[in-house]
Amino acid sequence: MTAASFSVGVALIAAACGGGGGNKSTTTSGSTSTSSSAAGKSFAVFRIATDTGTDYLDPGLSYTVEGWGVMWNVYLPLLGYKHVNGPDGATIVPYLAESLPTVSSDGKTYTLTLRKGVKYSDGSAVKASDFKATIERDYKVDSPGVGFFGNIVGAADYAKTKTGSISGITTNDSTGVITIKLTEPQGDFMNILATEFAAPVPAATPAKDQSTTPAPSTGPYMLQSYTPNKQIVEVRNPNFDASLYGGNVPVGNPDKVVWDVIGDDNVALQRVISGQDDWLGYHPIPPDRLSSVQQKYPDQIKLFTPANTYYFFMNTRVAPFNNLKVRQAVNYAIDRQALVRVYGGLAQPTQQVLPPTYPQYKKITPYPYNVAKAKQLIAQSGDKGMAVTVWNHDRGLDPRATAYLTDVLNSIGLKAKQKIVNAAVYWTTIGNQATKAQIGFADWFQDYPHPLDWFDVLLNGQRITQTHNNNYANFDDASVNSQIDALKKEPVLDNKANARWASVDKEVMAQAPWAPFLNRQFTDFFYSTVDLSCYVNHVLYEFDYSTICMK
């Protein structure tokens, strides 16, 4: 998904492609105890000064870090992630399912069984058929997540008609068995089952946005109320039984979680300093207050680096960026250290797709800063003086990045101007082929910790679509496509697979469809009464409010 604070949902496109595979059957079992929930550490209320990035509180619709940040303790998928700090947080564990799925020898069939006794917050039992209904509901509500399920047998047909059912999902309510058949093996399918889009809601849930009339939920918390752009209130789910989950899902320490939606960073910060709120949720500490906050509250700040890459896409179908020399020139011309300062210094420069938090990351520096070479490449390309429109949205610090890029493009011989559009429509605008966006700002925060979430979603030429396109560069390289497709079938990310992904990263950057420039760092700031010995920052969902303690 795109940057936490600055995005609305971006549709992912179906088509998990790839050839048939003959993978051996993989059965992974059991639950692992990872919960950092703390019995006896419960307290009354945890208040959060969150930003305006929450798009929906409907698991079928939300596609922002903020939305998922609220819901990951509300709507539990069949599988989920350990609630722990560090890389171990990427470990998939069973949530509503009894164990990790049994995968058939051909890698195409996943079988799971629901835990016994799991109930929704309204007291009704969770049924296996609810899972199927949930995926079908995703299609009915035009969920931005339907692209994740396109590899399920029958999903493509269901996407067209939205009638009948998805034949590839079969369920048995009496046994709780869920069987999912895929058209092709898919190495990241367990990650996809762990997304909020796959979190079951009752089959009778209306196929329309339920943000303000929350659907019954399965997690330790339930949504009590949601007033958009004002407040979200979560309370304990009376029908949640943590003992059913073998420690994979925390009990939750706060009895109640209140999210106050605050638009201004300074106001939000002041609320946390004064104790009106306990956590500065998703707001950056304004750069000119960072030093004083650090000085006064050094123990209440945490710095973290979620898996993200900020980049400039260059549309390979549109001149002048259909010319490799121009794309390389842009990569040589941008000084990534300068862009780090544009973002207040809280970032690391990068020249590649994968962020350094990935095991597949192998640092490469193919484009050291060299303006002379950039000018030379532009002259060789024959595109000197060509008009270029640099696209960006209007929120946060991001417009500064394209202001810099525009200046750089003008300095190397192109004739650039900036085009800023409202953040609410930016991603759909540049994702529409009719726009023919030449070059612009983009970022990516992982949907799940797997290289496929980067290369397959963002750079696989076979997934380019007319609208809602995530491959803004329209990068379509046969060699890269085939490598992605081959790696998609790999059931396990071992050292060999990781090395191959690193090679894909290098090969992509040789073609320069992007000019990646930094991996951003963020801060979490807490009121002085919050006990940060319980602090958990998850690799995907970031701060885990369920496990926090108070002094």
Binding site: P287, L303, V340
Partner: protein, 359 residues
């Protein structure tokens, strides 16, 4: 015999009073414009602020000269990693940030050098390392352009609509006044944001008019459009009143065409109000442009305008207040100048008039 009119009572000056105090031999015809000028020239406060406004305009016109010969940079040129010598000491234009000596430090741009940097970054730099003083002057050009041109367009259409509505009456009047009412129903800022945002993506390509998105003509035309009823409605009222006067009836009786009546008889009689409206609405439009640009629906970055500069500076309001203060002060000075001069002009042209622009 009439008492001599004091300086402070100039607004009550009338032709009769002037005639009374002059020597009988000096009595001669005085045009309304002459009388207005006579009143205006004695309003030193208005003239002071007119002078101030002219200084602002000239300073903004000289922006390229300042940029080239003093600051040695352009309004959109980034100097993020450069240093500038301030009082003999090399200082980074934007300081490095990150974890420095175990502490979290944010990158902060240089503050005002007040000419101790050899003319560079006199008012400091923004987060992109751009010279604030240079951008302030270029921003002034943008804001003044939008303010003045949008006022011209707005007043032009408001006058036409007011004349047509009041002269013809009937259905024409009904349609035009309902249009005014409709526009009145929307708060100006809200309507400006809606139109500005909608046109920001694709621009305007209708009726043979092609304006690209990001063009300065988008906010100019949006502001012109949203303020038409605020000028047109009071002018219509004045024309309605004049329409019933004998000189208009006489003109019509003599066979004057509607065009002649409207533009030769009626228009000169509302000219003073139009002039005052024009002056006052420039100030109003500069504020509106700044507000829309601040909210992202006006002038598009990286083009400098006072509104976009205030928006750029708000993240650094504590440590680098000049980023926002400088354009804010520029707006205050310009708008105050225009408003006080406009009030003086109104008093001079028609002391009894209650012309004002409010929304």
């Amino acid at each position: 015999m009439a008492e001599r009119v004091t300086e402070s009572e100039f607004t009550l000056d009338t032709a009769a009073e002037l005639a009374a105090i002059d020597e009988p031999s000096a009595i001669r015809g005085r045009s309304p414009w002459f009388l207005a000028w006579r009143r205006l020239r004695r309003n030193y406060v208005a003239f002071f602020f007119l002078g101030l406004f002219i200084i602002v305009v000239v300073a903004c016109m000289l922006a390229p000269v300042y940029a080239k010969h003093v600051a040695h940079t352009g309004p959109n040129t980034n100097h993020i990693l450069e240093t500038v010598k301030v009082n003999g000491k090399e200082t980074p234009v934007v300081s490095p940030g990150g974890i420095i000596k175990g502490k979290l430090v944010a990158s902060i741009p240089i503050g005002p050098t007040w000419f101790s940097g050899g003319g560079r970054f006199v008012l400091g730099a923004d987060q992109n390392g751009r010279d604030v003083a240079v951008r302030l002057l270029y921003g002034g050009r943008t804001s003044l352009f939008v303010g003045i041109i949008s006022s011209l367009i707005c007043v032009f259409f408001a006058v036409i609509l007011a004349l047509v509505a009041a002269y013809y009456g009937g259905w024409g009047d009904f349609v035009i006044t309902r249009f005014f009412d409709l526009m009145y129903a929307f708060p100006v800022i809200l309507l400006g944001i809606a139109l500005g945002s909608a046109l920001a993506i694709d621009g305007f390509h209708h009726f043979g008019i092609n304006i690209q998105s990001g063009s300065i003509w988008i906010p100019t035309l949006v502001i012109s459009y949203v303020l038409v009823p605020y000028v047109g409605r009071p002018l219509r009222g004045q024309v309605l009143s004049l329409r019933e006067k004998e000189f208009i009836e006489a003109s019509i009786a003599q066979g004057a065409s509607p065009f002649r009546v409207m533009f030769v008889e009626l228009l000169p009689n509302i000219a003073s109000s139009v002039l005052v409206f024009f002056t006052l609405i420039i100030a109003n439009n500069i504020i509106l442009e700044s507000a829309l640009s601040f909210l992202g629906a006006g002038v598009q970055p990286p083009t400098a305008s006072w509104g976009t500069q205030i928006a750029d500076g708000q993240q650094l309001i504590v440590t680098r207040p000049w980023l926002s203060l400088a354009p804010g002060l520029a707006i205050v000075i310009t708008v105050l100048s225009l408003n006080i001069f406009g009030d003086g002009l109104r008093d001079a042209l028609d002391p009894r008039a209650k012309v004002k622009v409010s929304h």
